[in-house]
């Protein structure tokens, strides 16, 4: 086994103890160092894989704190209930405005030609968004004025028809919020400190929204160009 083969095997399985690899390691300090590095990384990978996002167990509270915590929890529940009413309202309003915005650009649904990578980049630039999208499924990409900011407005062709995507850097939502209005159905999901709205003529957009929200990256916010003249 040579160094290239050894490193391929170490990189593929740092815990491998095959006789060939072991024999190589006894005579190759560089590959031994590489394996030590990979073993360190492996421990971290193992710890990371034990706990997927959203599956993390909560740390149990000490028993002695049970009563004060229960009291605090009851106050918290009441507070959350009040806040929930307050928070849901803007989300509904946001959904309404998203629907209105899409209705104002009906031509966006009709585009069938793929937007170039430069066109997509231009739509994302004003919002400081890195989306890494280079798909030929995007048939519409504009930077639109929405709630006082430029936001990327994309139309993505899916197997369920075209879906509008608005990337809303300045709109915070606490939880996924599905809505249906004016024959359109959609969902607004949290994405970092902002949110993403996905809207279509029917169909379940939650999966698409979830995928998109994981792949949006907020860059430092650029200086805003002046608002469009009405």
């Amino acid at each position: 086994m040579n160094c290239a083969q050894a490193r391929l095997h170490i990189g593929a399985d740092p815990r491998s103890e095959s006789p060939e690899l072991t024999a190589h390691l006894t005579s190759c300090p560089a590959c031994r160092r590489f394996r030590d590095e990979m073993l360190t990384l492996e421990g971290r990978i193992q710890r990371a894989l034990q706990d997927p996002p959203q599956l993390g167990a909560r740390r149990p509270a000490p028993r002695t704190l049970w009563r004060p915590l229960a009291l605090a929890a009851s106050v918290l529940v009441a507070t959350v209930a009040v806040l929930a009413v307050w928070l849901v309202q803007p989300s509904r309003s946001l959904a309404h405005d998203v629907v209105l915005h899409v209705q104002e650009e009906p031509e966006s649904w009709l585009a069938r030609n793929a937007v170039s990578a430069q066109g997509i980049a231009a739509a994302l630039r004003n919002a400081g968004v890195d989306f890494g999208v280079t798909s030929d499924r995007i048939t519409y990409a504009q930077s639109c004025w929405f709630h006082g900011h430029y936001v990327p407005h994309l139309v993505v062709q899916t197997t369920q028809g075209p879906a509008t995507v608005l990337i809303l850097r300045h709109e915070t939502v606490r939880a996924s919020h599905a809505f249906s209005e004016a024959g359109l159905s959609g969902v607004i999901v949290p994405a970092g400190t902002g949110s993403i709205a996905v809207l279509a003529h029917g169909g379940d957009m939650r999966q698409l929204a979830g995928e998109l929200s994981r792949d949006v990256h907020w860059l430092p916010e650029p200086a805003q160009p002046p608002p469009p003249k009405s």
Binding site: E37, D51, P52
Partner: protein
């Protein structure tokens, strides 16, 4: 989320456990392995609700083909294999054809990002963003305990291809953790 038929193991698990029916050992195994299956499915599907669907369907399939499990000790790899296949089926059946996220995932793995964030959080995020072709063998190996040969059989790949994918998966995570990319072996083991 799909509904389970009345005779599904998902529903009957809890009811059958106290009893001593002939399927009680299997229901116990299914129940005890459910967290593992859920974790495994979640890493594959990158979505909790989708993972729940996958696990539920997988348990149904396992239940229907329970006669195929000759050795209870082999239940875990057997079930993980069913979950993987169910994920692949769901992926083919339901995935919206839009952006090949896997193709662009590289752009999101920023060198040294882990140094600025909580290490594990960044690493989890990095694993989630690995293209499926890299994430799947990694999860099979680390979480599932499958050997390279077993992964190759399951994914219908050559052993060399699996080695390469596993190498590349870890190499991307090396970069994420600020360790620098290891040169990709260009010897006879490497696959383009």
């Amino acid at each position: 989320m799909r509904n389970s038929p009345p005779d599904s193991p998902v529903i009957s698990l809890g009811e059958r456990l106290p009893g001593g029916g002939p399927d009680a050992p299997l229901t116990q195994v299914l129940q005890s392995l459910r967290p593992d299956l859920m974790r495994f499915a979640h890493w594959l599907a990158r979505d909790r609700s989708l993972a729940e669907d996958i696990v539920q369907e997988s348990l149904l399939r396992a239940w229907r083909s329970r006669e195929a499990l000759k050795d209870p000790a082999a239940a875990r790899p057997w079930l993980l294999t069913i979950v993987r296949r169910e994920h692949a089926r769901l992926y083919e059946r339901k995935r919206l054809e839009l952006v090949p996220l896997e193709d662009v995932a590289d752009t999101y793995v920023a060198p040294g990002a882990a140094a600025a964030e909580d290490d594990l959080f960044a690493l989890r995020s990095g694993i989630m963003r690995l293209p499926l072709e890299y994430r799947e063998p990694l999860v099979l190996q680390v979480l599932g305990g499958f050997s390279t040969e077993e992964i190759a059989r399951e994914l219908n790949l050559s052993v060399t291809a699996v080695l390469t994918r596993l190498f590349r998966a870890r190499n991307k995570l090396r970069v994420l953790c600020g360790m620098g990319a290891a040169p990709e072996p260009d010897g006879e083991g490497a696959v383009p």
